[in-house]
Each structure stands twice: as structure tokens, then as C-alpha cells.
Symmetry: C2
Subunit: 252 residues, 2 copies
DNA sequence: TAGTGGTCTAGACCACAGC
DNA sequence: CTGTGGTCTAGACCACTAT
């Protein structure tokens, strides 16, 4: 039952009570919550109020609703750790790039869909690549799947002049991937910089990644630098409930 | 007006229409949306339906509601870049640690509240620190502010045996911070590992960080390793709309 | 005082899951 | 078929902001 004199909205009281029962494992991971109509009885409020309470927990990502079945405590997802050291030259030479390198060390079957297009650099891309806005860039738009499930979206952009007459402008870049083809042309990759942030997905991303509500995405922008210029900027989007990034460096 | 024959729920149609007007800058960043009652007229649906539509956009973090004033397109927040190279020994020696190092290079006035306590290691902490669950750990719980605004929560845990009779068990650890005191005892920090993920904040975190709805947090777990063992595990929580982490490494 | 968003009710009907 | 969540209505009153 809710306290009508406390000043705290009824739906927040219900949400807090349900949350407490979840964190105390009175409702364990995977367990079903009482139905909305049962909660109406239990707390003495109307169904829209119960739905407001449940939607708070859904936005927090701690429960999921399944139409026709019920509301369930979200079980913790299996976290994949992506170690960035996999981008070493040695690892690149062994296979087709960072994503497949990761697949190889784990048990899953990777697949990738690639679309190649050309566009004019926007301000942000131009800044990262050290070129002028409007300059032509080669865009490799990739959807990566593990066992058929979409797990990552990635969009690479390179100055067109670096990719002309190379397999980078083809869907299949061959062994070693984009980075190997860049090195074929005499460009050496010396340094990587990654910028890591998080945000809520766009509706398109939520659909592509099959994200449940309340799950943010991790947005990674990786810039590959050569001897005298930036060679590639790669924008990656990963579901935050399935991935964790690991970085390691020496203290001095 | 909504299309009642499409099968798409009315509130999603309204949300999609408003979202399109926002991304096309018909409603520019910072601009006020029409009031809910005006939207009721414009789309020919009831107010709860309009509120459902707006709450979709709020969960996506693209609008913010201000009680008594209106609903506004969220302007892009200023992003602070936290470069992890600031953890070099040189930088540590110059000041009191990573957070103050960051403040020094920017214009803001930093302040920190610290609470020290002791507890038994849980499974996760024990695993990171290479100790047994139940072993005593020293916990430094910190709230970091920039110009008074809470910008980061951090909880450090160290094996108690490493901190006994050191300033690490005091609120003020002195020049160079925790890492410098560890090195005073002859422990050298050789390696850092960071695990980066994202999730929706708990209600406590949302309150402490003054997070608006629809803003995730970036969760960083940093482990500092010495010559033969892990010395510290630090769990940090940052608001994703204000921070971005930068990592840099050499390709080979 | 007027306008805004926030909360809440008591229903109704629909769509989906499972027996 | 029953029970579940999903959508929607037409109001009501409250709390906050600004004039």
C-alpha cells in the first residue's frame, strides 16, 4: 500500500518498493513480477499508476516486459570483454581485423555485412582526418554479427586519395582487412586513439541491435594515425549490456 | 494528425513526428516544444497519449521537461575529455592524483569529499585484487566536484595490509595521493587496466550526479597492478553526457 | 492569475502467449 | 479460452513558473 501523506508520488513509491524487492532478490533474476492487475490490488492504486511504476524500472533497465507473458527481472547479460591490444600488427596479420580477431578467441561464428560508399566529409570527419570539409571520403559501413545476432555497428571513413585503386573500396578487403591494405600502399599505422562515450540509442540503432528499452550504447570513435597524418576514423556502436572495453597501459 | 489505420500506435507516431522535427532542426536545440495541450489539438489525441509520446523522447535523452515552464530540445552538453595518460608517474608527482590533474589543465575549481571505511571483500573485489572473499579491504569513497557540481563518483578498494599505518587510511592522503603513498611503502605501480562499460544510473547515482532522465553513466573499473599483485581497484561512475574517455596506444 | 508539466482515476478495447 | 501487457480516453486536481 502507498502512503498518501508522504508527498512522494504513488508510482514512485511502488517503483521503489518493487526495486527494493528486486535488489534484495525477493524477486530473483529471471523471476516474474506479479501481474499489473495483481499489483493494482496489492498497492491500492489504478492500473495506469502501476504502469508508470513499472515503466520507471524498465527505463532503468532492471526489468523487461514481454507482451502476453509478464514482467520479468532482467537477468545479467554475459559480458564480452574487448581488449584493445588485439589491434596489434601481429594480430592484424593473422586475420581480417579486430572483430574477427575477437571472434577467433571466443567460440562464436562471426559474419559481417559491408556497404561501401563515397561522400563529402562533414566538419567532424574533416577535423579528425585533418582534411577540409567537403573533401571526398571513402565510407565503409559495416554490420557485425555473432551467431547471426547483430552485436556491433561500425562506420569507417578514410580520405579517398588513400583508398583509390585499393581493395579498401571493395566490399572484400582481403586478408588483414583495411589496415593491411593501407600498409600495402606504404602507409604505416603508428598510433591509435579511441574516444569512448555512452548515450541512449537512436530508434534505428535500437532496432538493428535488438536492444531492449533501458539499455544504452557505447559509442567508440577510433582514429588510426600514420607517420604524418590521420588515416582512418571509425565510429563504432556497441550494446552496453553485452560489451565491456578493456584498456591496459604501463604506469610510466 | 495521426494515422489510425497504420497499426502504428498513436503515441509512437507523435514521437516519430516530433523527433523528425527535432533532428531537422525545425525545433532547434534549446527551443521549446508546443505545450502538451497544444499537441493534443495538433495531433487529435488525448493528453496521456501526448505524454506517452514525449516520455519516449525523454527516455532517448533528446528533450527535457521543466515543470511549470515547458519541454525543451536538449542542447548538446560540453564534453570533457579525460585522457588516461594523465596517470603517468610524472603527472601524479605534480599533484594529488588523476582528478586534480585534469582540473589543473582546465579552468575549473575542483573539490572532493572523501569517506574512509573498512569492509570485507566481496567476490568481485577479491577477484580483482587477488585476495580471498572476506579479507579486509580499505575503502575510499569519493565524490568529486567541479565548481560545486558533482561530476564523478569513485570508490577505491585496497587490501588493508597495504594501507595500515599509511595516510591512505586518512581522509587526506597528502601530496601525490593514494598512489604516491603506496610507492612510499616500496610498492611500485607498473600497469593499469581499465574496464569500461555503460548502464542506466541507479536512483542514488542519478540524484548525486544530478542526471536528467535519459542520460546513462559510464562505469569504469580501474585496476592498478604492482610487481607481483594488484594494489587497488577503483570503481568510477561518470555522467555520459558530460564525459568522454580517451585512450591512446602505439600500433605495435 | 494563467499557463505549464506532474499525478491519478476508472474504465475500455486490442494484441499476444499459452493452455 | 483466459490471462498477460499495450494502447487510449476524458476528464480531475496538484505543483511549479512567470507575469
Amino acid at each position: 500500500m502507498v502512503d498518501r501523506t508522504s508527498g512522494v508520488p504513488a508510482f514512485r513509491q511502488v517503483a521503489a518498493d518493487l526495486r527494493a524487492k528486486i535488489t534484495s532478490e525477493q524477486y530473483a533474476p529471471g523471476a516474474q513480477l506479479p501481474s499489473e492487475r495483481e499489483l493494482v490490488e496489492a498497492y491500492g492504486v489504478s492500473r495506469p499508476t502501476i504502469r508508470d511504476a513499472v515503466s520507471v524500472l524498465r527505463a532503468e533497465g532492471i526489468v523487461v516486459a514481454e507482451h502476453g507473458k509478464g514482467v520479468f527481472v532482467r537477468p545479467p547479460a554475459a559480458i564480452h570483454r574487448l581488449a584493445r591490444s588485439r589491434l596489434s600488427k601481429e594480430a592484424r596479420d593473422r586475420n581480417q581485423g579486430a572483430f574477427l580477431a575477437d571472434a577467433a578467441t571466443r567460440g562464436f561464428t562471426p559474419s559481417t555485412s559491408v556497404k561501401v560508399r563515397f561522400e563529402e566529409a562533414d566538419d567532424r570527419t574533416a577535423e579528425y582526418l585533418g582534411i577540409e570539409p567537403g573533401d571526398e571520403v571513402t565510407v565503409r559501413d559495416r554490420v557485425m554479427r555473432a551467431n547471426g545476432l547483430v552485436v556491433q555497428l561500425a562506420v569507417s571513413r578514410l580520405p579517398r586519395e588513400l583508398t583509390r585503386d585499393t581493395a579498401i573500396e571493395q566490399v572484400d578487403t582481403g586478408a588483414g582487412g583495411t589496415y593491411a591494405r593501407l600498409e600495402d600502399t606504404g602507409r604505416t599505422i603508428l598510433r591509435f586513439v579511441e574516444h569512448v562515450g555512452a548515450r541512449m540509442p537512436t530508434p534505428e540503432e535500437a532496432a538493428a541491435l535488438q536492444l531492449r528499452s533501458g539499455v544504452p550504447v557505447v559509442a567508440v570513435t577510433r582514429v588510426a594515425h600514420g607517420e604524418d597524418r590521420a588515416l582512418e576514423v571509425n565510429d563504432m556502436v556497441l550494446p552496453a549490456d553485452r560489451y565491456e572495453l578493456s584498456y591496459e597501459w604501463l604506469a610510466d
